[in-house]
Symmetry: C2
Subunit: 545 residues, 2 copies
């Protein structure tokens, strides 16, 4: 059987656009002589449309879109992902389904059994789990058709009672096909490959694994679809962060040579490509072209500036330098040099008058009180206000420049440097930001060395350094990683050998700043535990400090 894997970038809710794109790939596959084209999970509507699924009007439009697609299936079968109604008397309204379309009919519909409801996933919010198992027959081939998580119950942790393939294998399938919406994280690529290889080996069946690419706000899909033979060799592995099309001439019983790519966990190239795609898709799918960012001469805004230029084109990214009386001369010079290296427009707008006016306005209220963090926040918020005004006037989106370390400990001003429509490096710890800067400079000096080498500073007071109030980032990042990604309590972290006073201070900062993160911009997710929907903490609570 000749099978085409179509690894595409969908837009949530853009049913016409998604169907149009699928039709183009069906036509190409038809010309290539394929028997079957496979698209990914919920490809009709984009994965995942969240509470749009609560609208009957939306679900009905999905049904109409399948019908439009069906008209193009006279000569080959098409597997597509779509939400369908649950017609039983009990249960959730919908199933997360895969449908086989052929000769203008729905030949088969199967539903997802295992509904991920953890981290960024919330499928049981919408879907009833499948409980009955049948193969899908197409042109004499018996297909075990499953959806994403259905193949993830094989190794630890075993989250679900039922393992769908254990049921389906009893019916003697010839091949497994899995349509997927599996997002990227920097330690997920190898795990996903291993799991899929283990499925092939365990059931001694070939596997066609079809993922998608593209960013849906914060969630980044990386692709990496695969064809794995019954011995567990990865015969085909599709591109990462790019749409891809692969024609597979599969014969029962045939063994295929290993042809897998060699991406590894924590591969900086993949993280980089993920972020560039994330920025680009946010703008493209929102219908925007132009970005603004506050360029401070620091490493974070420099990395954002470079990534944004790659994603949107230099002419569409404006760096705004917003110096205050506390800004070192080096900051302005370095930020200017960066813009020149990137060949992107930049502007210098001093916040001095504005800060003076605010302080004068508030002088009667603040009489007799000492300067404190209030005055630092006034600077950050003045910058935010000016950036937002420019973005309003020029129809551009402000890119937020906070990293994960700062976001974690609340080292950022709400409505100040926390402004922005999208946080592109909010899931990178500070040390990862440095690594990204070095990667950006891999061929030539884009980010001036002066920016990489200077001591991190918010420059909100004279001679301020981040290290005045925070431990060194090398240490901070490790403790944060244990607390956030590893979900260890402070006592467990201390037991790893970190100093108790520092651990408790940091953990307390993280807890106390939930209220800030609640109002933060969406963060491109590249780790397996990013701030945002992946980490849902109460705001009003007593934490264990």
């Amino acid at each position: 059987m000749k099978i085409v894997i179509a690894q595409l970038n969908y837009t949530i809710g853009d049913l016409e656009g998604n169907v149009q794109k699928m039709i183009e790939h069906i036509q190409r596959a038809e010309q290539d002589g394929a028997d079957l084209v496979v698209f990914s999970e919920l490809s009709i509507c984009g994965y995942i449309p969240k509470d749009m699924l609560n609208y009957d009007s939306f679900v009905n439009r999905c049904k109409d879109a399948v019908e439009a697609l069906m008209k193009h299936t006279s000569n080959l079968g098409v597997i597509v992902g779509v939400p369908t109604y649950n017609k039983a008397e009990y249960g959730k309204r919908l199933f997360n389904s895969a449908q086989l379309l052929y000769k203008n009919e729905i030949k088969a519909t199967v539903h997802k059994t295992l509904l991920p409801t953890y981290d960024i996933f919330d499928e049981y919010r919408y879907f009833e789990p499948n409980t009955s198992f049948e193969l899908v027959e197409f042109q004499g081939v018996k297909i075990a058709l499953t959806i994403c998580e259905d193949l993830w119950n094989l190794d630890q942790p075993i989250l679900y009672k039922t393992t769908p393939m254990d049921e389906l294998v009893k019916l003697n399938p010839d091949i497994m096909i899995n349509i997927s919406g599996s997002p990227y994280s920097y330690n997920h690529v190898e795990e996903r490959k291993n799991r899929m290889v283990n499925n092939a080996k365990n059931y001694r069946l070939p596997l066609v694994y079809v993922n998608q690419i593209g960013a849906h706000t914060d969630i980044l899909f990386d692709g990496g679809s695969m064809f794995i033979d019954a011995q567990g060799e990865i015969a085909e592995e599709l591109e990462y962060f790019k749409e891809d099309y692969r024609f597979i001439d599969w014969k029962v019983g045939e063994a295929y040579p290993d042809n897998s790519l060699d991406y590894k966990d924590e591969d900086i190239e993949l993280i980089h490509d993920a972020l560039v795609m994330g920025i680009r898709d946010y703008f493209t799918k929102m219908g925007f072209k132009k970005a603004l960012l506050g360029s401070s001469g620091g490493i974070d805004s420099a990395v954002i500036n470079a990534l944004a230029v790659e994603a949107l084109g230099a002419e569409n990214v404006t760096a705004v330098l917003l110096p205050s009386k506390y800004s070192s001369e080096g900051s302005v010079v370095d930020a200017e040099q960066l813009a020149k290296n990137l060949d992107c427009p930049y502007k210098i707008v001093s916040i001095k008058d504005m800060v003076d006016t605010v302080e004068r306005t508030l002088a009667p209220e603040f009489e007799g009180l000492e300067a404190d963090v209030t005055e630092e926040n006034i600077q950050a918020r003045s910058r935010g206000l000016l950036l937002m005004a420019m973005s309003n006037k020029f129809g551009s989106i402000v890119l937020n420049t906070s990293n994960k370390s700062e976001t974690a400990v609340g080292y950022a001003t709400l409505y100040g440097d926390m402004c922005g429509g999208l946080s592109a490096i909010g899931d990178l710890y500070k040390m990862q930001v440095y690594e990204m800067a070095r990667y950006i400079n891999r061929d030539r000096e884009i980010i001036p060395e002066a920016i990489i080498n200077k001591a991190p500073s918010a420059e909100l007071r004279f001679d301020q350094k981040d290290s005045d109030s925070l431990p060194p980032y090398e240490l901070l990042d490790q403790i944060l990683f244990q607390y956030i990604e590893k979900q260890k309590g402070w006592q467990e972290i201390v037991a790893l050998g970190f100093e108790e006073a520092i651990v408790r201070k940091i953990v307390k900062l993280v807890d106390r700043n939930e209220y800030k993160r609640f109002q933060a911009a969406p963060i491109l997710r590249i780790s397996n535990l990013a701030f945002g929907i992946g980490r849902q903490m109460p705001l009003v609570a007593h934490f264990n400090n």
Copy 2:
């Protein structure tokens, strides 16, 4: 059997505080000669601790807290809600459990079967559902002990395959006890009573229903615990929005007279009490005392001002009048009069100099461009900046003043009037805000009539009225209600008799402003579909406009 219903206000994560409060109620019940005290769902840790549950350190502390409580159970039984580990080889890590403690032992543990995962609920994110059913015996009484949602599968919609009481009733229980964490919404009080009465009637068993009160950021628990006899009479109904304690002398087979309260759906008194509790709990549980708000002379800030004074005391609420050149004289006079009526401090801080300075600073960038929404946003953001600076300096929390109608259509400035730690009326449509103002004035004129009677205006341009760009609120609110609460598509709303052009315009405004709501303050929830975790829409998507 003598049973005490303890309807308390817990703080999430404050295990010591929660346990201490429970011990006090156990001691009182002991003095009163009770056999059994019943606390509500997850009472040990507060419902619901969200991703705190992912920390083993947290779950272990819950276990320790149960042990501390157990020491006080020599003379009477105690039913408490607590997360416990799932020790099976598969499934989620935890159960949502109820434990019967007696004579310093855990006499019984039952797990929740039906895990709500919709709207604001996300329990399948954390918990494995129960699948085995046994009664709990205590002093010869056979108790069908269930947890909240377990009793909600009786009437439509039937969300779950299993109905726990259908299983438990086969074992011939004497009484049902349900420990609950059922939040308030203005159309939920009657429904909850009806469902619980239907359980008693259907199974011909008395029901002890124990709810909790208190706000956990946005979610407001109203209490209204009940004792219902086997005929379905509500013999006891506890207070709403207040801690309460009720001693029930229950005898098998005895009928009790109806003694229910007469709260109805959409009761403005309950909505009012919900919001006052919500504000008070936010501050108390956060450890703050003082609030600030921007007082514009409009109805929204007036209602917030009055509610905050009730919640926090007049001396703790400062109204800040922030007039611009566009503010009518009436606005300032009315806002002053309001503060005088409420006897709360107020300050007048003109934004004029600040706005002038911002415009001067940006003049070189904006040269040749016409004034537009940018200049309006500069005013709103200048107010936000000044309020935030004052809140920083004085250690107070800014109360956001947006209502649901504005929040829906994005008639608010991000980082401007959207500032604030808590949105107290963000779930009240504009027409409900008027109703609340009239309720606040029920005994005397607190909110000046001039504020209630003036045409709504943002006062960001000369002679601006909300009706310049929005349909009248009477109409707007109805369309929004259909789109948000009823989840109807625009075509369905038009079919109800609304004008297509208006419906499409409004629906489009709602969709296009997801990105703003994503960064909004938490909103006290009083409807059955509030913005926030109850409505999770994609930001980057094509909606059906």
